[in-house]
């Protein structure tokens, strides 16, 4: 079960309360722990459990989360989340520590949002006709939070790296720049999720630098990156595309129109870098557009 890696981190009382619900409702996406408040589970439905996350449990949870080594997580704390075994991401809130006006770290962590990583093998399969023609097409996945961008991106990476022999698609050298450790869910550099046989992962590395490093060092056929948006990302992607590498990436937006309102994405679109835009709706429907933004397929729910 995907949530099993989360349970060792939780206090025993909470494990006993959440396990039956997690078993019963496979659509649970988040477990929220707030100090002094009842535990909340949310997905398609919401559950407020009659167990309170106590101060003692909070301390024990933080010790387990940081493995008694707070200093190792300074970078993650600045970003506000930690990735654990299985690729599950734990969002954090507490008291920000500022240094010269910038967030230096976080302390008194009291609020936790555990996002259950879902590995759905095969969800990208029905997109193959638009993703792969003579080769993999450079594609940008557009979607709001919790729409399944990363899950879809992971499956595309897995298919690219493993190939689909029955469809005549060979396995490609796939490089994944996994800044937030969500695509491959690496633990100590080893992927916890299935990302295919020919995939190389650069874990916890800033995307733009990571993409340049992968281009130079791993000579990929396909380059995968999650949640692009900065000018440096666009530069790194253009370098990849000019080197003949297919780039498949995702961006955070509620719609295609909203995505291209962002200067960086608009410039990427105008340069014709991406051949496909896949807009993912919160109900897991998607719209496929070509490089000019023209709709190719609309409102198809994934299986």
């Amino acid at each position: 079960m995907p949530y099993e890696a989360i349970l060792p981190y939780l206090p025993e009382t909470i494990v006993q309360a959440v396990t039956p619900i997690l078993k019963k409702d496979t659509h649970i996406e988040e477990i929220r722990l707030r100090t002094g408040q009842p535990v909340e589970l949310s997905g398609a439905e919401q559950y407020f459990l009659p167990v309170v996350f106590t101060e003692k449990e909070r301390l024990a949870f933080v010790h387990k989360l940081t493995k008694h080594s707070f200093y190792r997580l300074e970078e993650q704390l600045k970003k506000g989340y930690i990735t654990i075994e299985g690729g599950h991401r734990i969002g954090l809130a507490g008291q920000a520590v500022l240094k010269k006006g910038l967030i230096h770290s976080m302390t008194n962590l009291s609020f936790f949002n555990i996002r259950v990583a879902k590995e759905k093998k095969g969800i990208a399969r029905h997109l193959l006709p638009v993703l792969y023609e003579k080769g993999w097409e450079s594609t940008l996945l557009i979607g709001p939070p919790r729409s399944g961008k990363t899950t879809l991106l992971r499956d595309i990476a897995r298919m690219a790296a493993s190939g689909q022999t029955e469809l005549g698609i060979p396995a490609s050298k796939t490089s994944i720049v996994d800044e937030r450790s969500e695509i491959a869910g690496c633990l100590n550099g080893v992927p916890q999720l299935d990302i295919g046989t020919r995939a190389d992962v650069l874990d916890a590395c800033p995307k733009s630098e990571g993409m340049m490093m992968m281009i130079r060092s791993m000579s990929p056929d396909v380059l995968i990156a999650d949640e692009i948006g900065r000018a440096e990302d666009a530069y790194a992607m253009s370098e990849a595309l000019n080197a003949g590498i297919t780039v498949i990436a995702s961006v955070h937006a509620h719609s295609y129109e909203e995505a291209i309102r962002r200067l960086v994405i608009r410039e990427i679109k105008e340069s014709g870098m991406f051949k496909r835009y896949i807009e993912i709706k919160p109900n897991h429907e998607y719209i496929v557009r070509d490089q000019h933004g023209k709709t190719l397929k609309a409102a198809l729910a994934w299986p």
Binding site: A60, K67, H68, Y71, R72
Partner: protein, 170 residues
């Protein structure tokens, strides 16, 4: 019979003296073991960004007894415990202190090494470990001077007192 008794008295005195003088050299050795361990810990924290548990296991595997036993026990307790690394460090140190030839001041200093261990930034961890290592170095020099000054004296006094007792009893 008298000669045998005298021999045993002298032997016992010698062993008592030898044991007492060994605590001086052991203290130097044990302080050196911790100095080296804390230096490894500092390096691992600052450059390797390894967890406290991984670092403690590495130290346990590379250092000599009794420090290796302490670090092994500390590393074993970390993953299963819901308390802080600071508390585990101090309680493990209290359990193991009789294995070491440390003075109470040495133990207090080592407790400082564990204070806030794993609960602060890399910079703070480095500063604290550097501070403790510097103090340990000073204590090792003192212990070395003490060893050179007193170990031989203790051994000689023990043998001589044994001889005197044997002569008086004969």
């Amino acid at each position: 019979m008298k000669w045998a008794g005298a021999f045993f008295i002298i032997l016992a005195s010698f062993l008592i003296g030898w044991r007492k003088s060994k605590t001086y050299s052991d203290r130097v050795k044990h302080i050196r073991q911790f100095e080296s361990a804390l230096l490894t810990m500092e390096t691992a924290i600052v450059f390797g960004a390894d967890s406290i548990e991984t670092t403690a296991r590495f130290i346990a595997g590379t250092s000599e007894k009794p420090a290796s036993l302490f670090f092994h026990d500390f590393a074993e307790k970390l993953p299963s415990s819901e308390t802080s690394a600071d508390y585990i460090w101090t309680s493990t140190l209290q359990q193991h202190k009789n294995r070491f030839a440390f003075k109470p001041g040495d133990i207090r200093l080592l407790e400082q090494a564990g204070h806030m261990l794993g609960a602060c930034t890399q910079e703070a961890e480095e500063r604290r470990l550097k501070h403790v290592t510097a103090q340990l170095e000073r204590r090792r020099e003192e212990a070395l001077t003490e060893e050179q000054r007193l170990a031989g004296v203790v051994r000689a006094v023990s043998v001589l007192s044994g001889l005197l007792t044997a002569i008086l009893l004969m």
